[in-house]
Amino acid sequence: MSQPLLLRFTFLHRVVHWVVGMTFVVLLLTGLAFSYPSLFWLTTLLGGGPAARVLHPQIGAVFGVGLLVMFVLWVRDMFLDAPDRQWLGAIKHYAAHEHDKVPPAGKYNAGQKLFFWLQSLLGVLFVATGLLLWFPESFGSGLLNTMRLLHFAAALAGGLLLILHVYLGTVAYPGTARGMIDGKVTTAWARLHHPRWSGERVER
């Protein structure tokens, strides 16, 4: 029989997630094209080199706004509490899927919370450095070269986070991705991954 479902993400949460997610992927691909000559062909995805160069910062602006909305929507759930610190202490059990040795997580586990803060920090770095690179005539060239270095470093960290995020959200933990599609997860999934959250939900 069909399992009872819990609403994990509202429509607004889902839309913002996918705006940020999809713009980030496009930005990452075009950014890689500008950074690695052998990947320059990726600019074809946006209509060639000049078009990609024009669109990259414009899409970046959408990404920046999306990330800001994301921050506002999610931030109140993202402060670490005492159980979160215990969770972090047991992170190697989490990675090894030793479920019974991992302290129960709330709506978000400590890893997700740290991910959020790291993502927000990188977002600030992306937007600040990206804005200077978008309007290069306003600033000195020495500064711009440093901005290019920081922008690339942020992209590299962001790319690594994306790999982790997509892996954990899809193949590693089946049932997770649905939360970002129709917004729902099964109660069994919630009890397994976010017991304290599912408990709260059941009591209501």
Binding site: Q3, S35, T43, G49, H97, P136, F152, G159, Y167, A188
Partner: protein
């Protein structure tokens, strides 16, 4: 006759790191030599540059200087700068022929992400190919001499191309051709270096004890060299004392790029390895 347009480096290609010197060599390597002490400030070179390269004329205005334009632009590839400096009780014009120096190690080319947008020839010329330019202006911040200029209409970057279409057929650049005092000379780089040495000696004999050749090593030397009477006052000529082709942040960026490509690959492989080791974690289906 040796190939005058044999390619040395192409932007965003392997040749940007390892020049194609071993493939073809033996062709002429040229250089301009600008003798500031011989310049009479006629600006004939500016006109010749505009005419030969068919560059748009820009409205100029008197801003209290002998200088014609305030700055270089995508349509003004050559500007004689008349910096006014007091030396002792005397006013001096520290004239600079401001145009691309055609570096042996071109910072613009190293910074360019668009394959083929910047090409360096074995003869020393660094040329921009606007067809391939994506308008990112990385070359502008990559140039230690502040030469390339972005054109807001064409969304591409332009600069002096050393009249490559003249050099190709054995002619000197237009500014050289037109200079009435031979302040700008043109020839094989080694010959120009020997000539510069003589000029420096002559100047020193005449009392300019700091006379010097400007052919900075930080960019591997240039293919437009200057002989300046006041070699101890390079900043007054608007000449950077220690230009470098790849400043520290860009060197760091190149290292990070190399490391980064491996890190991203390692990230994907780690996820795969984790999956193979512990597999997926699904909730029990019975609840």
């Amino acid at each position: 006759m040796p190939d005058t347009l044999a390619i040395k480096r192409i932007s965003a290609s392997p040749s940007a790191l390892i020049p194609l010197e071993s493939l073809r060599s033996g062709g002429p390597v040229y250089s301009k030599l600008v003798d500031i002490s011989k310049c009479i400030g006629c600006k004939g070179c500016e006109v010749a540059c505009k005419e030969w390269n068919d560059l748009k004329v820009e409205q100029t205005s008197n801003f209290g200087s002998m200088q014609s334009h305030k700055d270089l632009s995508s349509n003004t590839w050559l500007l004689m700068r008349f910096n006014e400096v007091e030396i002792g009780d005397d006013l001096s014009w520290m004239i600079k022929k401001d145009a691309c120096l055609h570096c042996e190690e071109p910072g613009c080319l190293f910074a360019c992400p668009a394959p083929g947008a910047i090409v360096q020839y074995q003869n020393g010329i660094v040329d921009f190919n606007q067809d391939q330019c994506i308008g990112c202006q990385n070359c502008v911040s990559g140039c230690p001499f502040d030469i390339p200029r972005f054109d807001k209409e064409t969304k591409t970057v332009a600069k002096c191309n050393m009249c490559i279409d003249r050099v190709e057929v054995g002619l000197e650049p237009a500014c050289v051709k037109t200079c009435p005092t031979n302040a700008i000379q043109w020839g094989i780089k080694d010959d120009m270096l020997a000539l510069a040495e003589k000029k420096v000696e002559t100047m020193k004999r005449r009392g300019y004890e700091h006379a010097a050749l400007y052919n900075p090593g930080g960019v591997g030397g240039t293919h437009m060299m200057y002989v300046v009477p006041h070699g101890d006052r390079l900043e007054d000529y608007s000449l950077p004392a220690h230009p470098v082709a790849s400043p520290a942040p860009l060197g760091g960026l190149n290292v990070l790029r190399r490391v980064g490509s491996y890190l991203l690959g390692f990230g994907v492989l780690s996820a795969l390895a984790h999956f193979l080791a512990v597999g997926p974690m699904s909730p029990e289906e019975d609840s």
